[in-house]
Amino acid sequence: MVSFLFKRLLQSIVVMATVAFIAFSMFKFVGDPINNMVGQDTSQQERDELREKLGLNDPFLVQFGRFSLNAATGNFGYSYKFQVPVSEMIFERMPATLELAFVSAIIALAFGIPLGVYTALRREGFISKMIMSLSLVGVSLPTFLIGILLILLFGVVLRWLPTFGRGEVVEIGAWTTGFLTTSGLKSLILPSITLALFQLTLIMRLVRSEMLEVLRTDFVKFARARGLPNRSVHFKHALKNTLVPVITITGLQLGSLIAFAIITESVFQWPGMGLMFVQAIADVDIPIMAAYLMLIAFFFVIINMIVDILYYAVDPRLRASDGS
């Protein structure tokens, strides 16, 4: 177990270093940060001095080495644009993104699983077919478009819900939450639906196909033969056995929810990390971009590691091979 964990940890570090390297080597293609940091009347000499001070004239490997050393100690430097420590900005923005991702995950599960079960049980039903065709729309429509359509319908035409932002937020220590105010909750609805829609359809289709699979197995037939009521067969026997892969996928998708929030956050001007990242690209704010990419890589690495450890705990075969 210890050596397994150690190996995993080592791999994670390699992954993080690779992400940092690739991200860093791409920054030279995003453009010149200096021009965004000074006004049009600023002299060339001052621009050159600024470039020198920021270390942008150093060779790539020197810049990368400096960044890695600082990042290893948790220091991501100062935002070029805001002159505020990047770690501070990220912590300020993180609650918004995490709350959005959390609500989206709940929506995706709360609707995805029942719909999946329903469409599996009533395979030929009219409503099932409707749901299945609609789910295609959810998979294929780009998030940006869904967001704009929802804004138009519920924000502009019906005027039930706010079109942008987080509403009033309440500060609890370092955390800001929109869960405690009406406007905060109302603001959550549209973006979380937008973000959840893809995951929802994914989970629904997954549950459906797993259910269909399980319903054909012998133990379900036996259960029926024992004369158990349908309800018990469907939910106690079948659904339970479909949930293993669903939980795995959902865990992994949580990472994507956070990472894919970029588009949803831009459409709804949701003040989270994704929006900050998009803005940073436009401003060529390298410290923010680097820190964000590292953080997302870190999320994925951690989630993968937890999933791996769970497998290890569940699957005895892994343990056996480890011992040999």
Binding site: D32, Q44, L50, Q83, P162, P271
Partner: protein, 530 residues
């Protein structure tokens, strides 16, 4: 919504009846960019300075039409051509209650020259400030400067005591790893509004400064600013009634705003001139199929380009009728503008072809055009239009449209002016032609830092000479005639291809009236909620 307004109005009426206090009026607006800092000397950018102009003030301030009028200085007079006497306004208090005095002016001027300040250019227009008494100063300039009061508008005055107490004597530096500067996130000005909450890139809230020295038109007591990056989201937020003003609005959305209830587009000509530039300096173009010579050095080729462009078509098709075609490199709002020179080059493709043929390019030639795609109104589309117009006279233009950070990195001095043909826009920060002359029209000289935005290195000794004279001539009439002479030379030589003044494009709710300033700045002083 209507019902709620009705109830609110009734409640408001009841409140007024009960007590004759000023009604609380909130005004909410959004802009595409963010307020990156509250430090008035950190970044010389129109949006930042314009926004902070509601918090901080200079000795002079811009009025609704961009004329410099007395601000923190009550009046001024020139003692000698290089010495100005300013009588400072008495009884003015900073937001924290401190008195405004001459010491604050000296301090703020020195701060504009501090390490990391992006206002050094403005600060260096002052050589020395002599304090006569607490409310009288004499400003000495390095050379006669007829537009000193325009330069002073954006030298915002900070409170010396407050700055020293909070250790923010130096400007927030754009270079990394400075210790957090207090003024970057806090403010203490003399303006009609003060900041109560500032979350960079999320939201900024302003409150009315009850102790403001001046009388202003606005009846607003609270203002909320949110940056909204996506144009579609901005437009939706306005139409849904959540915001009272958003800008900019894509010109293609004007019709939608006209049709929607309760909102309307607000358009006007911006003081920014969009133009095309050509590399006339190098002996061989960097990006062209013509080797061994530079076609743009031949005036006939430049004339051919000028006559190939159909500015009216660009106005109608690309700008939806909202641009003002221009023959000059400055807009009508800019001091030194000459109406009789503003006729654009005539659209005449036949003449253009003939000129190309006589210059030795009967079949045209190939050249690469650099264009930003997220800097100016419909910038990439303008370039595309120009490409197809030039194709009609045989010039094959290869368009390279990029985001502004890539574009500027390539074409500016930092990229060694790596361009042969480009689109650029310019608003002189001082609202005076001298800035256009010295930035765009004088010969490029990297050593003396002259003409650094003259990317194509248009060069004429007479223009250089006139520019130097304009910089120190204090007689307005003489000065303007020299500006005009310089513009005439550039025009006759087809040094640049001016296209148009782009439109200001705001969307406003019917419940407010605002003043749309030609430099795209929202001045809270003129915001009135009905």
């Amino acid at each position: 919504m209507k019902l709620r307004h009705g109830i609110m109005a009734a409640v408001a009426a009841a409140t007024i009846a009960a007590a004759p206090v000023a009604q609380a009026e909130t005004f909410k607006y959004a802009f595409q960019g963010n307020l990156s800092s509250l430090d008035p000397h950190s970044l010389n950018e129109t949006f930042l300075l314009g926004s902070l102009g509601n918090i901080y003030e200079g000795l002079s301030i811009y009025d609704a039409n961009l004329a410099a009028v007395p601000g923190l200085a009550e009046s001024w007079e020139t003692v000698t051509p290089t010495k100005w006497k300013f009588n400072l306004r008495k009884g003015v208090k900073f937001h924290n209650g401190n008195d405004f005095t001459a010491a604050d002016v000296v301090f703020s001027w020195q701060r504009t020259l501090s390490e990391g300040s992006d206002q050094k250019v403005r600060g260096s227009k002052i050589k020395n400030i002599e304090v006569v008494d607490d409310h009288t100063i004499i400003i000495e300039t390095p050379a006669p400067n007829p537009i000193l009061t325009s330069d002073l508008v954006y030298i915002y005055i900070m409170d010396k005591e407050w700055s020293v107490a909070n250790k923010t004597e130096g400007a927030t530096s754009a270079s990394a790893n400075t210790t957090g500067n207090y003024a970057n996130l806090h403010s203490n000005g003399t303006g009609p509004f003060k900041i109560v909450e500032h979350k960079a890139d999320v939201k900024t809230t302003f409150d009315r400064n009850a102790a403001y020295w001046g009388k202003i038109k606005s009846n607003v007591t609270k203002i909320e600013f949110t940056p909204i990056k996506e144009a579609a989201t901005r437009v939706a937020a306005l139409i849904s009634g959540e915001l009272d003003l958003v800008y900019p609005i894509p010109v293609q959305d004007w019709k939608r705003l006209e049709e929607a209830k309760g909102v309307k587009p607000l358009a006007g000509p911006e003081a920014r001139t969009i133009f095309l530039g050509m590399d006339q300096g190098r002996d061989e173009l960097l990006h062209s199929n013509i080797k061994g010579k530079n076609p743009f050095k031949d005036i006939r080729v430049r004339q051919a380009f000028a006559h190939a462009l159909n500015l009216d078509a660009i106005k109608k098709k690309v700008m939806r009728g909202a641009a003002t075609p221009s023959g000059l490199m400055v807009a009508p709002q800019i001091n030194g503008y000459a109406a009789d020179l503003n006729t654009p080059y005539a659209y005449d493709p036949a003449k253009s072809k003939a000129l190309l043929a006589s210059a030795g390019y009967p079949d045209g030639f190939e050249v690469t055009m650099d264009c930003p795609n997220n800097r100016y109104v419909n910038d990439e589309k303008i370039c595309q239009a120009a490409v197809s117009m030039l194709a009609k006279v045989g010039v094959k233009v290869d368009l390279l449209a990029q985001p502004k950070s890539k574009y500027f990195g390539k074409v500016l001095a930092s990229g060694n002016f790596n361009t042969s043909f480009y689109l650029l826009g310019w608003t002189p920060g001082t609202m005076d032609s001298e800035n256009v002359l010295s930035s765009l029209l004088v010969c490029q000289n990297v050593e003396t830092k002259a003409g650094l935005f003259n990317l194509g290195n248009y060069c004429n000794a007479k223009v250089d000479e006139l520019t130097a004279k304009v910089g120190s001539e204090t007689d307005q009439a003489k000065r303007n005639s020299m500006i005009k002479e310089a513009f005439k030379i550039v025009q006759d030589e087809v040094g640049y291809l001016p296209l148009h003044q782009q439109p200001l494009s705001w969307g406003v709710s019917d419940r407010v009236t605002v003043n749309q300033r030609a430099d795209n700045v929202l001045d809270f002083r003129y915001v009135v909620v009905k």
